[in-house]
């Protein structure tokens, strides 16, 4: 039963990884930007929440109502200015620019908020749970995060395949010049995609801040897990990202069940195995 528990808890954790990886997957899938500042942006979201939400008198758990719109606007603006400018130069420039952003964000957060760990406190909501039997207890919060991840990825999939803007975004991603010839304003469309990606980053950052303690330097480790989820699932595939997150979560928990020392190692081994055997990931369209 302990093994079943490990799988269940791994799936729930995987939902969180998938939510985290969603924005990364989208930015890469559409614009080919590997956003190395992804983890740090999520940490900013958590800091924005603890700074702004108390002023609105909303309960902390509703923080996303405040933070997600701010991030969507911020994402659009950042894409139209800095990211687009670097994208116009070369893909490597975006790598350097986002790496630079990551360093700057970390240091600015250190200056402003100090290195002390903080947490978004939502009271007992974080520890409420239900028991399936005497071994398996599932946290409502983590289950909600999994649900949000599925909903966000599903909605994005629908948006990209059914809506006009979504189809234009895919067209631009596939062949920018051809789409431009047909009248698509790719800069605006990239901005929209970035806005969506940043909104999901904000969601992920807030759940991270509620689940655990964060500090200005927390972004790096979360980026690694998000990255692994994207690569395992397959670059450019949103459902793949969900599966990738869950595979990573389950692998880590099974590793921990063998020996707690193997938890992170097990996740990394699965990541390496996927890269070796199936470099484009489980559902990927392009090679990593």
């Amino acid at each position: 039963m302990q093994w079943v528990n490990a799988i269940v808890q791994g799936m729930v954790t995987g939902g969180f990884y998938a939510l985290f990886a969603c924005g990364l997957s989208l930015l890469f899938g559409v614009m080919g930007i590997i956003n190395l500042a992804h983890g740090d942006l999520a940490i900013i979201a958590a800091y924005v929440a603890i700074t702004l939400v108390p002023a609105t008198h909303l309960p902390m758990v509703w923080g996303f109502v405040v933070v997600v719109p701010i991030f969507a606007v911020g994402g659009y603006v950042l894409q139209r200015t800095l990211l687009q400018a670097s994208l116009d130069r070369s893909p490597f420039t975006t790598l350097l620019v986002t790496f630079g952003l990551s360093v700057i964000i970390e240091n600015v957060l250190l200056e402003v908020f100090s290195a002390n760990g903080q947490s978004i406190s939502i009271g007992t909501l974080i520890t409420n749970s239900f028991a399936l039997n005497n071994v398996i207890t599932i946290s409502w919060f983590s289950l909600t995060v999994l649900g949000v991840a599925v909903a966000v990825l599903g909605a994005l999939q629908l948006f990209l395949s059914r809506s006009r803007t979504g189809r234009l975004i895919r067209a631009v991603a596939d062949d920018r010049e051809a789409a431009q010839l047909s009248g698509a304003n790719y800069r605006h469309l990239f901005g929209v995609a970035a806005a969506i990606a940043f909104a999901t980053v904000a969601l992920a950052g807030l759940s991270y801040g509620m689940l655990t303690e964060f500090a200005p330097t927390s972004g790096v480790t979360t980026l690694l897990f998000a990255f692994e989820a994207v690569v395992i699932g397959g670059i450019g595939s949103l459902w793949g990202t969900l599966v990738g997150g869950i595979v990573l979560g389950v692998a880590q928990q099974l590793g921990a069940q063998i020996n707690p020392a193997y938890q992170i190692l097990a996740g990394n081994l699965v990541f390496l195995a996927v890269l070796a055997v199936r470099p484009r990931g489980l559902f990927g369209l392009r090679t990593a």
Binding site: Q2, N5, A6, Q9, G10, T13, V103, N107, L110, S114, A115, N116, G117, Q118, S119, S121, G123, T124, I126, T127, N128, S129, A131, V135, T137, S139, F141, S142, L211, T212, E213, F214, A215, T217, S218, T221, F225, G249, Q252, Q253, A256, Q257, N259, P260, A261, Q263, I264, L265
Partner: protein
């Protein structure tokens, strides 16, 4: 020619590669040159030309400093502490302590050594809570800045690499806030057979025996009251502290009839602890002990409560030592117990100017608005011991003599009596902690805080007053 010109990997860029230099009278020429030099090194590709000029100015300034410091009338002390990073909570009160230290006559007017008065300069460097960075700044202080003594504090991630570097570069070093076993093992000694002497390194703190002497009396009291099973969970990560605990702590508990359930040596930075929690639940572990990194504990404890693991008493080490980490957990931290190596409730006072523990805590609270902080006392005592050692030598620049004097210091100060000559291992002085539990705050020095540590057990150190009742956890 040692490689003192190097400023290490340029990860952070800019002057993040230079120890943070704090001194009252602005920046002198030498450090300005260093800042310029390292800034150029860190600035990346665009600064290729100027970086070579920058590097040579660092070399030049290092050389000139060596010439002057050989017979200088200044004692130069380096202090390495995690001002930023995961362990920054430990060092939050350090700027205040340094201000207090600099205002004492010994540090303000100078220390008399061998009949001559020496002024004192303190250079503070940030270890950023990482071992690499700590080793790097220690090397810089020992080889380039040429300090006469390195003080270091606040968890093995900082103190151990610093001690190793000090031993290697023959610079006297005093550490604190690190279990002595973890410090001793870090230098290459065997804590179970502590016969080896490290010539340049000393530490004052306590070890597994004192952790056990603090935690076990609390377990016994709760066990008698609740008739709980004598089983305890150990969550010890695979790092210096975790390994010291896994080896050293359980034997003391087993002697009293407790069964040990290990959570396994997990990796720092793990994000889910379900398998470990499952093990503790099915093992019916009524007592819980750990030595994790602070963010790890926050995550683990939330998951433990979610998944229904509720011990009768949690006695944690290395975390929940400071109000800021407790605030992050809020109500979930109520009645968690930990060790306190310094409190304002002891009769100890400063060997430098007679400031009492009470006065130090009050002044900190008045100036910072924060509740008293355990590392106020330990950081303070580092500078007391330094004075004791310098007073015992003929010249402060004789590294071997200063190191030998450190090994002999026996005095009473802010942390109580410390005797380096008669500790459990050569160069180890012991201070005695007490058990505290976090509870909703009452008024202290005229201010009420949401959470406050109350001294609930003083089995090990009767000098410290009891300020609250030990209560079994209702986590």
């Amino acid at each position: 020619m040692p490689d003192e010109g190097r400023t290490g990997p340029h990860g952070g860029g800019g002057n993040a590669d230079v120890p943070e230099i704090e001194r009252p009278g602005g920046i002198d020429r030498r450090s300005l040159l260093k800042l310029v030099g390292a800034g150029a090194l860190g600035a990346g590709a665009a600064a290729v030309l100027s970086s070579s000029a920058g590097a040579s100015s660092v070399l030049r300034s290092a050389r000139s400093s060596r010439l002057t410091s050989a017979k200088s009338g200044t004692i130069h002390i380096g202090y390495i502490t995690p001002r930023t990073g995961a362990l920054a909570g430990f060092a939050e009160s350090d700027p205040f302590v340094l201000k207090k230290i600099r205002s004492t006559s010994q540090y303000h007017k100078g220390i008399t050594v061998g009949g001559k008065r020496y002024s004192v300069k303190i250079t503070v460097a940030d270890s950023q809570s990482t071992t690499n960075r700590a080793a790097q700044v220690a090397q810089q202080l020992a080889l380039s800045t040429k300090v006469d003594l390195i003080l270091t504090a606040n968890a093995p991630e900082t103190t151990n690499p610093v001690a190793s570097a000090a031993e290697q570069y023959h610079t006297p070093c005093l550490a604190t806030v690190v279990p002595w076993e973890s410090w001793y093992a870090g230098l290459g000694g065997d804590p179970l057979e502590p016969t080896k002497t490290f010539k340049y390194c000393t530490v004052f703190f306590f070890g597994m025996k004192e952790f056990a002497g603090t935690f076990l009396p609390m377990w016994e009291r709760v066990q008698r009251e609740t008739k709980a099973d004598k089983v305890f969970a150990g969550m010890y990560p695979n790092d210096a502290d975790g390994n010291a605990f896994r080896e050293g702590f359980p034997p003391f508990a087993e002697k009293l009839g407790y069964t040990f359930v290990t959570g396994g040596s997990y990796t720092d930075g793990t994000s889910t602890y379900s398998s470990m929690i499952g093990k503790f639940k099915s093992g019916n572990c009524t007592f819980y002990s750990n030595a994790p990194l602070p963010p790890t504990f926050n995550t683990m404890w939330k998951q433990a409560i979610t998944e229904g693991y509720k011990p009768k008493l949690a006695t944690v080490a290395k975390v929940l030592l400071f109000p800021s980490t407790v605030a992050a957990l809020g109500k979930l931290a109520e009645n968690i117990a930990t060790d306190a190596w310094w409190t304002p409730f002891s009769p100890y006072k400063s060997s430098l100017d007679g400031t009492t523990t009470h006065a130090l805590a009050k002044e900190w609270q008045d100036s910072s608005g924060n509740l008293w902080w355990q590392s106020l006392g330990s950081s303070y005592s580092l500078f007391e011991v330094a004075v004791e050692a310098f007073k015992a030598v003929d010249t402060p620049h004789d590294h071997a003599a200063v190191a030998a004097a450190l090994h002999k210091v026996h005095y009473t100060g802010m942390c109580g009596p410390i005797d380096f000559a008669n500790g459990p291992a050569p160069g180890v002085g012991i201070i005695l902690p007490v058990g505290v539990q976090w509870k909703p705050g009452k008024k202290i020095f005229g201010k009420k805080f949401p959470w406050e540590p109350f001294v609930v057990d003083n089995a090990l150190n009767k000098h410290v007053k009891i300020t609250g009742d030990l209560v079994a956890g209702t986590y």
